[in-house]
């Protein structure tokens, strides 16, 4: 059984594109990163999975349950953290957390206390007195206190200080090690490459690639750094050329022997050929093809 499975999921807001033909598969126990530029369709996908918006076409299941027919059961197994947390402002933090647990019909007081202590959250304050970062912590507690099977987190670390980010990921790792699935959307590519086992890239509402993170790094593209006073000849497969004095840096996809043979004619002093790092790969997917 998959934690998340979508088939040709499509959402249009009137004539405006949300997501188009999104087919995603997230294994149980995975730590899955969902990345893409602003407006790519990350939040639309997440909101559709949570039943906040109805898909125009296609289908999806979460933990084997249909997101429309079994919406309530899906939500019982999911901990969701939105990118911007809005709560009932006049409530005290402790009352809000208790309200969230009551809405789930379970007593989460022990787990909630532990999480508040780890995140250093003052539960006596009113929500509208909290900073953005502290509201984010409330959101984390509400999403995690019931120990769900699946965590759906939309840009979870924005607004958290680096120490809290580390603590947050430590908690997520513990939960993931205990068998829970984590599905997070993020703009922080280093976060995805550091913590996620699998990732998908979405752009303009469509999934471009979805695979294990280590496989995503093996794109057949090489990052070449060359020190030469000469001009670079026209070679097919070269892109993203950056020149600074005698240092030339570019991406190459194609036959590496042909490239070395061409470069061999240049009076270069040093050369370095490496796989691009994962962030670079993601940025490559982010950027429009015509760029």
């Amino acid at each position: 059984m998959k934690a998340i499975n979508t088939e040709h999921l499509t959402k249009y807001y009137g004539s405006k594109r949300g997501i188009v033909d999104v087919s995603l598969s997230v294994d149980k126990g995975d730590f899955f990163g969902f990345i893409g530029p602003n407006g790519a369709g990350k939040s639309t996908t997440i909101r559709t999975l949570l039943g906040l918006i109805c898909p125009t076409s296609g289908s999806a299941s979460v933990l084997g349950k249909d997101i429309i027919k079994d919406k309530t059961r899906v939500l019982a197994s999911v901990g969701y953290m939105p990118s911007e947390s809005s709560f009932y402002g006049t409530m005290k933090v402790k009352d809000l957390i208790a309200f969230s647990a009551k809405m789930r019909g379970i007593d989460c007081s022990v787990e909630a206390k532990k999480l508040c202590e780890r995140l250093e959250l003052d539960t006596e304050r009113r929500v509208n007195e909290l900073s953005f970062g502290n509201r984010k912590k409330v959101s984390i507690v509400c999403a995690l206190q019931h120990n769900p099977e699946l965590y759906i987190l939309d840009e979870p670390t924005s607004g958290l200080d680096p120490l809290m980010q580390r603590e947050f990921y430590a908690i997520l790792r513990e939960r993931n090690d205990n068998g829970a699935t984590v599905f997070l959307s993020s703009h922080v590519l280093s976060e995805v490459s550091r913590y996620c086992k699998s990732a998908a890239v979405i752009r303009e509402g469509r999934i471009l690639v979805s695979d294990k993170v280590e496989k995503l790094g093996h794109t057949g593209v090489k990052r070449i750094s060359l020190r030469t006073p000469a001009e670079l000849p026209e070679i097919e497969g070269i892109k993203d050329i950056k020149r600074e004095n005698e240092n030339i840096n570019f991406l190459y996809s194609g036959d590496i022997k042909a490239l070395i043979s061409e470069l061999g004619r240049l009076p270069f002093e040093d050369i370095n050929i490496a796989d691009p790092d994962l962030e670079e790969v993601f940025i490559h997917y982010y950027a429009k093809e015509d760029n």
Partner: protein, 261 residues
């Protein structure tokens, strides 16, 4: 029940303020009656000279010289308008405020169906209207006892019941409308309440326009009819119940399918 009590807690302050203000104003109206009683015959003559204006406010069928006649009009002004404004604010904010304040996302990602959310909120609106009316009625009966007037209990209970139904109708219709809104909507709520009030005034002006009484719940609360007949006009109430049902069903269907963006 969690959401129901949550709604009551959220609206607690507003409920206390509206209840206190309306109860206080109605009590003032009752307390000044003994002083005004002596001047009532002059006032009744004055009102009878005002033609359509008197009819518009339903004062042509009431005897101001008697407590029930006086109360029938004052009750209409205070509890009618005040209660309707309260009910329209409650109804119109019930669903749309969650979206306006961006709390809908938090609420609706808990394992509770939208139907259950809508029912809990609707019951909370009804209960709050009931609490307001019960408290106002208790304070009014107490005030009447203090001034020592002999009131017709049955007629007073019917008047209070009619105003309760009026507020339920307005609260329910604005509740249904609120499912279609996703931003600030108080003006829409007030608009519905005020429009219903003026439709009733216009319908009282001429018999040709009497049919429009069927579309305003203020027709339930005609003091003249209730005081003189010691009964409610059920033909208007039944049409109102049908309009209320239609509004609620439409609102439920809409909210169940609505995209929360």
């Amino acid at each position: 029940m969690t959401l129901f009590f949550h709604e009551l807690r959220r609206n607690r302050t507003s409920l206390i303020i509206w209840t206190s203000v309306i109860a206080f104003m109605l009590a003032v109206c009752v307390f000044i009656y003994p002083e005004m009683k002596g001047q009532m015959s002059e006032m009744t003559d004055m009102f009878s000279d005002m033609g359509n204006f008197t009819a518009a406010f339903g004062m042509d069928e009431l005897n101001f010289g008697e407590f029930m006649g006086y109360f029938g009009v004052e009750c209409g002004n205070v509890l009618g308008l005040g209660g309707v404004l309260f009910a329209s604010i409650l109804g119109i904010s019930a669903l749309s405020k969650e979206e306006k304040d961006k709390t809908a996302e938090f609420l609706l990602t808990h394992p509770v169906s939208r139907v259950k959310v809508t029912v809990s909120k609707l019951i909370s609106v009804i209960v709050q209207i009931f609490i307001l009316n019960f408290c106002v009625m208790a304070v009014t009966f107490l005030s009447v006892a203090v001034i020592g007037e002999e009131a017709d209990i049955k007629t007073m209970l019917l008047l209070f019941f009619a105003y309760f139904l009026l507020q339920i109708e307005i609260g329910g219709i604005t509740f249904g409308i609120s499912a279609f809104l996703n931003s600030g909507s108080l003006a829409v709520g007030f608009g519905v309440g005020i429009m219903a009030y003026f439709i009733n005034i216009i319908s009282n002006l001429t018999e040709e326009l009497e049919f429009i009484k069927y579309i305003t719940p203020f027709s339930f609360t005609e003091g003249g009819y209730i005081v003189n007949n010691r009964a409610l006009e059920w033909k208007y109430i039944l049409v109102g119940a049908a309009m209320l049902t239609a509004s609620l069903v439409t609102g439920f269907i809409k909210y169940n399918r609505k995209d929360i963006v």
